[in-house]
Symmetry: C2
């Protein structure tokens, strides 16, 4: 049978249906989809491919899914660190955003972010930011899979002046990309404390009509809870339930403040949780009870949050910290095993975004979203268990090759579809402009 691509690998870790690891197997790809996973010897007999790859010290894993980020903010990476949250926002991030955000900033920042994400094995990202049409455009042109948040806040920004305009512009973005196979959209009301009841109710209705998810920061800090009780007489999750937003469409990001009965609520409605451990630690927001959530059958995905609060978009670091932190916090060194953590970064992300039919695992008929991890280096030897090695000793620099929908976007550590030198030049020029305004050490 003639096909597009054959990848022969030392190990294949499909993630579904379970934690099995295939030795010396191959993935056959045609028209962007996985058509077979089989022993290398059989693959060479059955298939004749236009392109063949021999990765004899590598593991193939499903493309990583960054379930929460603000890609364009990568241009603010490390702009202000070691500050209290409100000082960080009020004195640094918001003034910088007010001054600089526009179509060009968002395009250039998104391109920088996508370059970093591809180099570290991320094949799909769930974004929330202003000028989402520009992030969508850049992502689509490069070929990375994305879920673009149709941002909404009560107050005016450079993108829209009021909730009506956010909705109109958001729906326009949705329509413009509805036939793009690599771009999906989600409503993205920023947070319970920045969006009032009226707009949230409209989003609830529209999300059903358009059949898209709702992506929202939720229960990020204790302060958010206090403020909600003061203003609405209830905790934010209860308020969303009352507004009709609690459902399996809801992608609830952070969730560091949860009462036991709220964990039940999440399970009851099938709400997805996105855990961002590095951002939560760095901003001292609190701890998402991941072990308990998983025990209650709740789908938990992983996100990096923005590079302004992380300070990278590296899902390997996020996996490692997620697993270590859960063990440390619960006192249970067996929880969030390497495999559970890898599921969070792949299939759970796909489920949260409603695309587990096309990505999140290496399965016949799914899109060929594949990452090759080189486990033959000094820092990943000896190797007793590939999954353990990836999560506990792995790092983004081991990612050698990335395919999305069968198209190779990283080849032997080099981006095939992004001019790295140009990205670095543009980033440097933004840095110089931004530094003129804000004194930095």
């Amino acid at each position: 049978m003639n096909i597009d691509t054959l990848i022969h690998a030392r190990w294949i870790i499909p993630v579904e249906p379970d934690s099995r690891v295939y030795d010396h197997h191959s993935i056959a790809i045609d028209s962007g989809k996985i058509v077979a996973i089989l022993p290398a010897s059989a693959a060479m007999e059955q298939f004749s491919a236009l392109e063949e790859h021999y990765l004899d010290r590598h593991a193939l894993i499903p493309g990583l899914i960054n379930a929460h980020t603000h890609a364009a903010m990568t241009l603010f990476r490390g702009l202000a660190d070691d500050l209290p949250l409100m000082q960080w926002l009020n004195d640094h991030i918001w003034p910088a955003e007010q001054k600089w955000i526009g179509p060009e900033f968002v395009s250039d920042g998104s391109r920088l972010a996508i370059a970093e994400m591809l180099r570290s094995g991320t094949t799909c990202f769930n974004d929330m930011y202003l000028y989402p049409d520009h992030t969508a455009e850049i992502a689509s042109s490069i070929g990375i899979r994305s879920v673009i948040g149709l941002i909404m806040v009560d107050f005016p920004t450079a993108w829209a002046k009021d909730p009506d305009e956010y909705l109109i512009r958001g729906e326009r973005v949705h329509n413009n990309f509805r036939h793009d196979p690599m771009v999906r959209t989600a409503f993205a009301p920023h947070a319970p404390y920045t969006v009032s009841d009226g707009p949230l109710q409209r989003i609830s209705t529209l999300a059903e009509e358009l059949d898209i998810p709702v992506h929202m920061h939720l229960h990020e800090t204790m302060n958010e809870i206090r403020q909600s009780i003061e203003l609405y007489g209830k905790r934010p999750l209860q308020r969303l339930c009352d507004l009709g937003l609690a459902s399996s469409r809801l992608i609830a990001v952070h969730m560091t403040q949860l009462e036991p009965y709220e964990i039940e609520t999440l399970g009851q409605y099938g709400i997805h949780v996105v855990h961002c451990p590095e951002s939560n630690l760095k901003l001292a927001s609190g701890f998402c009870p991941v072990k308990e959530l998983i025990e209650h059958g709740i789908n938990v995905a992983l996100g990096t949050d923005s590079a302004a609060s992380n300070n990278d978009l590296d899902m390997f670091g996020e996996m490692r910290v997620a697993s270590l932190l859960a063990k440390g916090i619960t006192g249970d060194s067996t929880c969030l095993s390497a495999f559970t953590t890898l599921q969070m970064a792949t299939i759970n992300g796909a489920r949260a975004l409603g695309m587990d039919d096309i990505s999140g695992s290496l399965t016949v008929d799914k899109a060929a979203d594949i990452v090759a991890v080189d486990l033959g280096t000094i820092s990943t030897q000896p190797l007793y268990d590939p999954i353990s090695q990836i999560v506990y000793a792995g790092n983004s620099q081991l990612v050698s090759d990335v395919w999305i929908a069968g198209k190779q976007l990283l080849r032997n550590h080099e981006l095939t579809n992004i001019d790295t030198a140009q990205v670095l030049r543009k980033t440097q020029s933004w840095k110089e402009k931004i530094c003129q305004q804000i004194p930095v050490t």
Copy 2:
């Protein structure tokens, strides 16, 4: 003036006397020592060097000091993960050790560890393991700085049969390396629960006589505390005080269980603490109260612990996790700033090991233990603050060049003094032997 080496760098971060960052400066090196740090233009006028390096997108930092590891155990990296501590030790690590530990295992494991440490910017490590003479020998022949633990436990091992023999063999190692400028020794009684009062008292006396530190696991888990109270009627720190071991010679590793009055005790005696955040999290041991220790003026260094419980020897990961975890645990996002964390990984380590007169900062007359970090990559751009970038967005793969005592041991990411292919071959052969014994997935 004729000298050996000139390194011109985009930034130099000396760590002492403070958090200053020099732009476009150079380090002049002669006979293994730093002779000057000055603007690049002045350096080119004043010095004529045999070797010159131009690192125009790099920051030079002091060599990182891994203040607690068990180098040879790197051969057990990922052998058994996601297990309770005692099951991990009883069913996996100890049987594997009993079966395999010997001079060849320790030599090969140490070489693998040193290769990883050099590639990730570590120029000095504080070790504790059996056959310390072999680790010392390998470290010395490669040229990395080491403090070799003269291991002691009550029970027999392949290395010695009883406390007397541990002491005799330990003193022999001390004497054999006393004139080696790159090797120092420390007494290394394993832990309060594995060494009884008599041997500890003798170590206390001998450490004074030989003028060397005492390196010990201390207050690692709640269980250790409980056991000590049961057996000795007091907590381990109090027991060490009573045995005369509390002093500025003592390097106390882990310290996850501390009462407020014990923090006072540490300060009073000038005891050094080594924080191993990734190991403590992974084994769910507890949290070292680093913020409080620093506020009490206690010297806190950083260590990776062994690759069997980490699972790497990467001090960049350790810095990042140390800083994030402290913020998360205390709820104070301003604590363990990037600079404080970099101090922990450099000058504080040197202080703990009693070698801050020769390493730990880029200072005239200190040894040229220098690491070049490439900050010009996609994942470290834009760059507003080099120190912040190193700690929060840095990773070990940014380390391009390493000098120890002026000798270049890593050049453009390649080890100059270790045959990487041979290390990988030997590691693979150990893995095959070990796997024959222990079924792995």
